[in-house]
Structure formats: structure tokens, C-alpha cells
């Protein structure tokens, strides 16, 4: 239970107290936006996603029983929304996303050739190139500091799956970076 997520607040929010809900959202918002950013990877769309998440959270607040943190609950919703939306509309585009870094020639524009690429960028790209489930698990673990159990909650998957997703995510990163470094 983190800042601004006291049981009383949650209780009030569940009872329809809008102000309490907004306080909860206020403390969870940066993490939510960050998470949405890692899903949607474009600011406008990420904010859309966050917005939609809040809309649904407001509608579903009664079903939130405080078993997880409010933030991770929002993340769960956000990911559902995202997966649904992606399934409906964005399949092609997302596929495009995921193959982005595999495209030949990326990174060999003239400036790139001349100046090389910053390694952190490469890492960022390697992360971006991970399959969504691995990327999400990795970022939730390393960046958002969620426990495996919380990640399993957000991703609606077994604990062992979280473990393997994170393992394979890091493995891929390592391979990607080493391939770059060769």
C-alpha cells in the first residue's frame, strides 16, 4: 500500500466519493501514464489509454476490493483496454511496431553512420522490440518495481509465466545489445 492509498480512501472511493477517487488517481497517475506509454508508445495514444482506463476504473471502482494496489489495478485495466483495442483496431500497426527494430537498415542513416548510436538508446530500442508480454513484464519489474505476484495480477498470468517472461526478456536484450556491440 503506497502513498495516498489508504483503506479509508479506497472505501470512500468505492462508496462513490469522487474526491477520494481523484486523490487515488492523482497518486497513481504518473505510474499509469508511464505504463500506458510502454504499451502505446506514443504520447497521444498513451494518454488516450490512460483516459479510457480511468473511465473504466470509475465505472468499476466498486469491484475494487483493495486486494492489489490501486495502481496495479489501474494497470490491469489499462492492459485489458489496450489488448482489446489492439485486437480491434491496431493489430497491423502493432505488428509494425514490433518488427520495427528488425528492419534492415534502421540506424544507418547518414548521421547514424557518422556518429554511432547511443547505447542507452539501443537498449531502449531493444526493449521496444520485445514482444509485448515480455516487455510489459520486464518494465513492470525493473522500472515500476512490481513484485512478480503483482505483475502476474496485472498481466493475468501465472507466476511462473512472469518468471519466464522476464528471463526471456533479459536474454533477448542481452543478445540484442551484444549483436550491436559486435
Amino acid at each position: 500500500m503506497s502513498d495516498g492509498e489508504s483503506p479509508e480512501l479506497i472505501e470512500r472511493a468505492r462508496d462513490g466519493d469522487r474526491a477520494a477517487f481523484e486523490v487515488l488517481v492523482g497518486s497513481a497517475f504518473p505510474a499509469l501514464v508511464r505504463f500506458c506509454g510502454s504499451l502505446a508508445r506514443e504520447e497521444g495514444r498513451a494518454l488516450d489509454l490512460a483516459q479510457e482506463t480511468l473511465l473504466r476504473a470509475l465505472g468499476g471502482i466498486r469491484s475494487f476490493r483493495g486486494e492489489s494496489r490501486f495502481t496495479t489495478w489501474l494497470m490491469t485495466i489499462a492492459r485489458n483496454v489496450w489488448l482489446n483495442e489492439r485486437a480491434r483496431h491496431w493489430v497491423k500497426r502493432e505488428r509494425g511496431d514490433e518488427t520495427l527494430d528488425a528492419r534492415p537498415g534502421r540506424g544507418d542513416g547518414p548521421v547514424e553512420i557518422a556518429a554511432g548510436r547511443e547505447l542507452e538508446e539501443r537498449l531502449a530500442e531493444a526493449v521496444a522490440a520485445l514482444p509485448e508480454d515480455q516487455r510489459t513484464a520486464l518494465l513492470l519489474c525493473d522500472r515500476d518495481g512490481l513484485s512478480y505476484r503483482e505483475i502476474a495480477g496485472v498481466m493475468r498470468c501465472p507466476l511462473g509465466t512472469v518468471m519466464s517472461r522476464i528471463h526471456y526478456a533479459r536474454k533477448r536484450l542481452r543478445e540484442a545489445l551484444k549483436a550491436h556491440a559486435m
Binding site: V25, F29, L55, P110, A115, E121, E125, R143, R149, A181
Partner: protein
């Protein structure tokens, strides 16, 4: 267990989850089994270190953060009453969210999307460049202002980026009259933009002018005709703003008057302490504090130490109190403060650890904050007289000061060797004193640190912490000197404190290597050290066995230093010059493009004929190749306007080279050798840019180009030919889009709205990446990966043109 078995468990182990997973039967083995294996397996220990390094690196990756107002907007957009009660929503059939629909709609409206786009120059119908006019663009907000374009960072260097906002702060050097006129025309905002919050410092500002729609802007600029700003050359002005900002920063880096005053007061107080007491411990502690003040003064350099040091102190208090998971006052991130305190039972140990943490995690010296960290440390230590054996610390600080004094100019290799010599000489001197009580105490303190001092994830190594990445090269050099000492049987537990290394530098292998090095010959120095470093690999294994992360990295650094081309198996050490240069190149390229666009704007500025400006309906598809752009199929090129001003290529070259130097200066905290020379060049260039701007104004007003600006102006006689290469139209909206694929990560802008690509100009000598001339409605920020790029077929189908002659210098600069 075999390595393969351990490998799949290492991640969970590093994440601290393995025990839990093993307890529930999900993982086949627990932490104890993994640790048993690690004890005997250097490879897996190295793998573990790597996993940890990855964790840390991933954590530092940039992430999307809400901007000011996002939360409020999001909340305001929620319905007053919750309309649905079901929790995490059903998969489909939900009401299509407005915002999603909008995004889709916009996406769909993109007839051609440009994957990776550098430029974002929008030229209005009158040829007005909106893209860099300060204050014109509010942030894209599709809730209220559907077609408002956005400005996103062009490159990640705030000081380079904020040029667009510089007009609001006067840095663009507009006269008051100019400002007033521009404000009346709606080109400049009347109110300055809000200051940047520090966490958004990488975002471009100068963008808030209230909720104005694109249509508003469009109408206003049309109604305003052609603002003078056009010919005043936004690029030139922007660069002048950049110059001013950098000069400012150069000045500020060295002198921070408030902090200096603070330190002076401290020093006076300390001096009074000295005379007020005869207690040797008090004296020792006071000297210590004075030394810290000296470090603070050496490193000082920020204009706003107050705010930051307040936050730093708040954070320090949290660290000291081991408060648990809280939000960091400095970074706003959640931080587990218990990690810094619990392993140290004594307040003293905690404090030391906390300070080390603060120095290392929050204030690496390669950032300006490093200087402020010194201040904070000064404060903290000044009030901590009971903290540790004073003599030890005194010596440590002395050695630290020797180091800093020895290498004040950062990266200049010419000066590095003498500095190292001095530093090493200092440690030799200390070693020579080994018979004396001081050195003995020193050595004892090095070899007999209590177990509580064994470094954890955040280390307790003040000097290497202070050295940080900035002095990485030096650290690596010192480390090379150190290896004969590290891991000897006598002292298997190496502490790698700064003093440790410095003293160790006096050991025979290192000393002979140093002696064999000609003065001032840094590469030779490296070669001479090769025998010393030959056994780095076993030492890396040693570091790995001892789970000594810092040592591991030092070995890595040393390896990289010796074999940069081969040994970058682990990449995080190499933050290269090239990368910095690249940032520069990008910032520069954006300026170039503005300049390029300005040239074009000038051309459009003077329509050839009414017929030429009445052809808005033509798009890419039906046009003959090169039809519009080459001017061949269009009406005859109009006579060249007299006095047209186009910056000379040499000026771009100067901008480029100076920009690189500036970026280097900014990236390295402005401590580089030729500060004065740079300042002088900046002044010269600024003056020339002023002259150029004056020439541009003169030309607009029909006056001849002033003689002193003649050399800055590109071949006016050849202008007609150059001009003939461009479309004589005054009524189209163009975006010049440079799309070298590799620029993706920094350049997020593409054209939004109905856009037609009119032509693709192949980049000279580049297989990929073209100048695309397009027409469209405006600009917006978009992640590169999210929109369709032109396929090779698309590109093939577009009309192709010879590269414009006058664009070549620009392109050459970009590709350099």
C-alpha cells in the same frame, strides 16, 4: 546444479523473487542452491552482475511522464457519475472511446505517413514558418483543439532545444518594437511561457499560448501577411538564442555567487572553530570540513543551488531515516530507502552510506548537480564531526582533493598524465610514510574495515562514487595502475576506495609502467600499462568471485580502455563522443532545416505570377515527375529578387563545428580546455549572425546588403538559378521532411492532416533517406513507429528530382 539450470533462475534471483517461487514449487531450486553454485562459478557470477546492470539500466530508461495539466484534463473528462459498474471491462462492444476514435480518425486521415522524420517545417501560405516561431504552438491536445500541432524536442539537449522558446526570454534579440509588432500579429506570445519543471527539462517549451486551434493560427498568419520575422531568418535568430543561452551557461558554470558566499561563510566559521579549540579531534574534523568546502568550491557551478540542495537534503534525511518506500524529492520516483540504512546498525555507518549513496545515485559528477552534491556533502559533513576516525577521513579527503586539483580540466589527455603523476606522486608520498603512524593508520584502515562496511548494491566508495562516469577514463587509468595490488593474498578483500587505489598506485608494477611513459604521451602510457593489464581477465573473475561490482566494472573499463574496438561485450561503459556529436548533429540539422525552409520561404515569398499561385489542387499522383518542383513544367521562373539573402555555406560549417563544440561543452559540464576560445568564437559567430540578420532585413526592405555582410551571404548572382529549382507558388503549404531512417529516436515530428507527398529528392550519396517535399495541413508529434512509412514502392512511384543545388551544403552537414 549446472550453469544452464542456474541461468534460468538468475533473473528471479536478482529480482529477489526466487525464494518465494521456490517455496511454492514454481522454481525448481531456491536462493541457497543458486548461491552455492555462484560460489564456484565465475561465469554465472558475471551473468548475475550483468542481470543487475540490466535492471539498473532499464530502470533509467526514459519513460512517458504526464505533463502539467494532463491529470486535470483526464479527470475533467470523466463523467460526473460513474456510468458502468462492471470492473475490468469486457473485451469488446464497449462504447468506442471518443479519444481512441479520434486518434484513429487522425491516423486514417494521414494519406501518407512518414516513418522517421527529421524536420517539421511548416510553411504557411504566406511562407511563414510556424515551426520555430516561439509561442505559436500549444501542446497538441486533441480533446479541445483537434488540429493543434505540437512541438516536441528536436534533440535531447535542453539547452540546445529551448531555442524555440528563447524569443520569450529575450534571447532572440528582437527589439522591443519588433516584439510588439510580432505580438500584435499573434506570432509571438504576449506572456512568457511557464518555466519548465525540472522533470520536464528535456521537453521543449515556449509552446503555450492558450488553446488556439491550428485554424486560428492559420487565419492569423494569413491576415498578418508576411511578418518580418520571416526574413529576419528564424534559424539565425534561433541560433543566436542558442549562443546566448550557452554563453549564459558557460558563465554560470564557474560562478555561482550565492553558493560561493555560502561557502565563504562556512570557511570563516570553520577557521574560527580552529582557533577556538585545542582539541586535536576537533581540529582534524575541522580540517576535514574545510577540505570539503574546498571540494565544494572546486566543483561549484549552478545558478540555483538552493532549491536543489533543499530537495537533496530532504532526500538525504529520508535516506538517513531509512524511511521505506517513498517518492524521492529529487526525482519524483519511488525509492526504497530502507535499502540504504538497514545493514548499518550505527548512525555513523548509515550516514556514511547515505552520503555515498547520495553522491553516487543522485549526483554523478558528470552532471551539473555533481557540483551541488559537493555542497550538500559539505553541509552534511560539516555538521557531522563525530563521524568516524577523523584522521582517516582527513587523509581520504586530502587524496580526493589532490585528485580533483590534479585533473581540473576533465578530459584533456595532455593534462591527464601530469595530473596522474601528481596524484600518484601524492599516494607514493603517503606510501613512503608507511613507517610513520599516519600511513600505518591509513593502511590499517584500508585493510581492516569492519564487515559492516562491505559494499552493497549502492556501495560505500566515496571516491569512485565521486569520480563517477565523468572521470571514467582517469578511473580506468588509475585502475590499471592498481591491479597488481588488487586481489593479492595479503588483502583479498579490496575496498576500492579512492585512497586505496591511489595508494596502490604506488606499487611496483604500476610505478614502473608509469616511469616508462614519456611525459604527455597518453597513448604510450596506455601501451606501457599493457603488461600491467594483461591479466585483467583473471582479475575480472576475481572481482566476480568477490561479488565486487565496482571492481568488476573497473576491470571492464580498463579492458575497454585497452581494446576499445574488441571488448565492448558489455556496452554500458561506452558513452561515446560520437553519441554526443550525434546529438549535436541533430540539433544542428534541425536548425539547418529551418534555415533551408527559410530560404524556401523567401522564394515563396515572391510569387511568380497569379497563375502559379492558383494551383492548389495538384498532388503527387497526377503530376508529371518533377513537374512542380523543378519549375520546368510550371511557369517560367520569375526574376530573382534583388538582395536575396541566403547564408553562405561557410557559415553553416561554422555553425556545425561550433555546435559540436558546444554540445561537447554542455555534455561534459563545460569543463573543457578551450573555454576562452569557445567564448570568443561564440561572440564572433553571434556578431556575424547579427550581420546576416541585418542583411536579411535590408533585403526585405529593398536596401542593398551591407558590405560587411557580403561574405556571409551566398553568391547572390547565382540565386536565380537556384531559385529556378523550386516551385514558384505562394499558395501551397509545404513541409520539408527529411527522412533518414536513423534519426527516428530523436525526431518525432511528422506531418499531420491531409498530406500529399509532392516529390522525393534523393539524398546525395545515401541509399536511404530522402528529402521529401510534401504539402499538408500541419505538424504533429508522433512516435516514429506508429505510422506507416513510405514503402520503397511508394517512394519509387513519387516524382523524383535532382537534388537542389543549394541544399547540398546542408545535406553534407547533416550527414557528417
Amino acid at each position: 546444479m549446472r550453469c544452464e539450470d542456474v541461468e534460468v533462475l538468475l533473473d528471479a534471483y536478482a529480482d529477489g523473487e526466487l525464494e518465494g517461487l521456490a517455496a511454492t514449487g514454481i522454481a525448481p531450486a531456491g536462493a541457497a542452491a543458486v548461491e552455492a553454485h555462484l560460489d564456484g562459478c565465475p561465469a554465472c557470477r558475471a551473468a548475475l552482475l550483468e542481470v543487475r546492470a540490466f535492471k539498473a539500466s532499464v530502470r533509467r530508461l526514459p519513460a512517458l511522464a504526464p505533463r502539467e495539466g494532463d491529470l486535470e484534463r483526464a479527470l475533467a473528462a470523466l463523467p460526473a457519475v460513474a456510468t458502468r459498474v462492471e470492473a475490468p471491462p469486457p473485451a469488446t462492444r464497449a462504447r468506442p472511446p471518443r479519444r481512441f476514435l479520434f486518434a484513429l480518425e487522425v491516423a486514417a486521415s494521414l494519406l501518407l505517413a512518414f516513418g522517421i522524420v527529421l524536420s517539421s517545417l511548416y510553411l504557411g501560405p504566406g511562407g511563414v514558418s510556424l515551426a520555430y516561431v516561439p509561442g505559436l504552438f500549444a501542446r497538441y491536445d486533441h480533446e479541445r483543439v483537434p488540429f493543434e500541432p505540437a512541438l516536441e524536442p528536436v534533440a535531447p539537449e535542453p539547452a540546445l532545444l529551448n531555442v524555440a522558446g528563447a524569443g520569450e526570454t529575450g534571447a532572440l534579440r528582437l527589439t522591443r518594437e519588433e516584439r510588439r509588432r510580432l505580438a500584435e500579429q499573434g506570432v509571438l506570445g504576449r506572456t512568457p511561457p511557464r518555466p519548465l519543471a525540472s522533470d520536464t527539462a528535456t521537453r521543449l517549451h515556449g509552446t503555450t499560448n492558450g488553446p488556439r486551434t491550428f485554424a486560428d493560427i492559420y487565419a492569423e498568419t494569413q491576415a498578418a501577411g508576411l511578418p518580418t520575422l520571416l526574413t529576419a531568418d528564424v534559424a539565425v535568430l534561433a541560433f543566436a538564442g542558442l549562443v546566448a543561452a550557452v554563453e549564459d551557461r558557460l558563465a554560470a558554470e564557474r560562478i555561482a555567487p550565492d553558493s560561493m558566499r555560502l561557502l565563504a561563510t562556512l570557511e570563516a566559521t570553520l577557521a574560527a572553530n580552529l582557533s577556538a579549540s585545542t582539541d586535536p579531534d576537533v581540529h582534524a574534523a575541522t580540517y576535514l570540513a574545510i577540505d570539503y568546502v574546498a571540494i565544494g568550491r572546486t566543483l561549484l557551478g549552478d545558478r540555483r543551488p538552493e532549491a536543489l540542495s533543499t530537495r537533496a537534503r530532504a532526500e538525504l534525511e529520508r535516506v538517513l531515516a531509512s524511511e521505506g518506500v517513498k517518492r524521492s524529492p529529487l526525482t519524483g520516483e519511488r525509492e526504497d530507502y530502507t535499502a540504504y540504512g538497514l545493514t548499518h546498525p550505527t548512525p555513523r555507518g548509515m550516514r556514511r552510506r547515505a552520503l555515498a549513496w547520495l553522491a553516487r545515485e543522485r549526483f554523478p559528477l558528470d552532471r551539473p548537480e555533481g557540483a551541488r552534491a559537493a555542497l550538500v556533502l559539505t553541509h552534511a559533513l560539516f555538521s557531522a564531526r563525530d563521524d568516524g576516525p577523523a584522521l582517516e577521513r582527513y587523509e581520504r579527503i586530502r587524496a580526493g582533493i589532490a585528485f580533483f586539483e590534479g585533473a581540473p580540466d576533465g578530459y584533456d589527455p595532455e593534462r591527464l598524465v601530469p595530473a596522474l603523476r601528481r596524484t600518484v606522486g601524492e599516494s607514493l608520498r603517503l606510501a613512503d610514510l608507511a613507517g610513520g603512524p599516519r600511513a600505518r593508520a591509513l593502511l590499517e584502515s584500508l585493510s581492516g574495515l569492519p564487515p559492516g562496511e562491505i559494499p552493497g548494491p549502492n556501495g560505500t566508495r566515496p571516491f569512485f562514487s565521486l569520480l563517477g562516469p565523468r572521470y571514467g577514463a582517469e578511473a580506468a587509468a588509475i585502475a590499471r595502475l592498481t591491479w597488481p595490488h588488487v586481489g593479492t593474498r595479503e588483502r583479498p578483500r579490496t575496498r576500492s576506495t579512492g585512497l586505496d587505489v591511489l595508494v596502490a598506485a604506488g606499487l611496483p608494477g604500476a610505478r614502473s609502467a608509469l616511469d616508462a611513459t614519456p611525459a604527455g604521451a597518453y597513448p604510450d602510457y596506455g601501451r606501457a600499462l599493457e603488461p600491467v593489464a594483461a591479466d585483467l581477465a583473471p582479475r575480472a573473475a576475481l572481482a566476480s568471485r568477490d561479488r565486487d561490482e565496482d571492481l568488476f566494472w573497473l576491470v571492464h573499463a580498463a579492458r575497454l580502455g585497452l581494446e576499445p574496438e574488441r571488448s565492448s561485450g558489455y556496452p554500458f561503459f561506452a558513452t561515446t563522443e560520437a553519441a554526443r556529436a550525434r546529438r549535436l548533429g541533430l540539433a544542428l540539422a534541425s536548425l539547418d532545416i529551418v534555415a533551408l525552409g527559410q530560404g524556401r520561404a523567401r522564394i515563396q515569398d515572391r510569387p511568380a505570377s497569379p497563375a502559379a499561385s492558383d494551383r492548389p489542387g495538384h498532388g503527387a499522383t497526377g503530376d508529371p515527375p518533377g513537374g512542380h518542383l523543378a519549375g520546368a513544367a510550371g511557369p517560367a521562373a520569375p526574376p530573382a529578387p534583388e538582395g536575396f539573402v541566403e547564408p553562405a555555406p561557410e557559415l553553416f560549417a561554422r555553425l556545425a563545428s561550433l555546435s559540436r563544440a558546444l554540445a561537447r561543452a554542455l555534455a561534459e559540464g563545460v569543463e573543457f580546455p578551450s573555454r576562452e576560445r569557445l567564448s570568443a568564437e561564440l561572440r564572433d559567430l553571434a556578431a556575424d549572425l547579427d550581420r546576416l540578420a541585418a542583411a536579411a532585413r535590408a533585403s526585405l526592405e529593398g536596401r542593398p546588403v551591407p558590405a560587411e555582410a557580403a561574405a556571409l551571404v551566398r553568391d547572390p548572382a547565382g540565386f536565380a538559378a537556384r531559385r529556378a529549382a523550386f516551385p514558384p507558388s505562394a499558395s501551397w503549404t509545404y513541409a520539408i521532411v527529411l527522412r533518414p531512417e536513423g534519426l527516428a529516436t530523436f525526431h518525432h515530428r511528422i506531418v499531420r492532416g491531409p498530406v500529399e507527398v509532392l516529390a522525393v529528392v534523393p539524398r546525395p550519396g545515401a541509399a536511404r533517406g530522402e528529402l521529401v517535399l510534401a504539402r499538408g495541413a500541419g505538424l504533429f508529434a508522433e512516435e516514429v513507429s506508429s505510422e506507416r512509412r513510405l514503402s520503397p514502392e511508394d517512394v519509387e512511384a513519387l516524382p523524383r528530382l535532382p537534388p537542389p543545388v543549394w541544399a547540398r551544403p546542408f545535406l553534407v552537414e547533416v550527414s557528417r
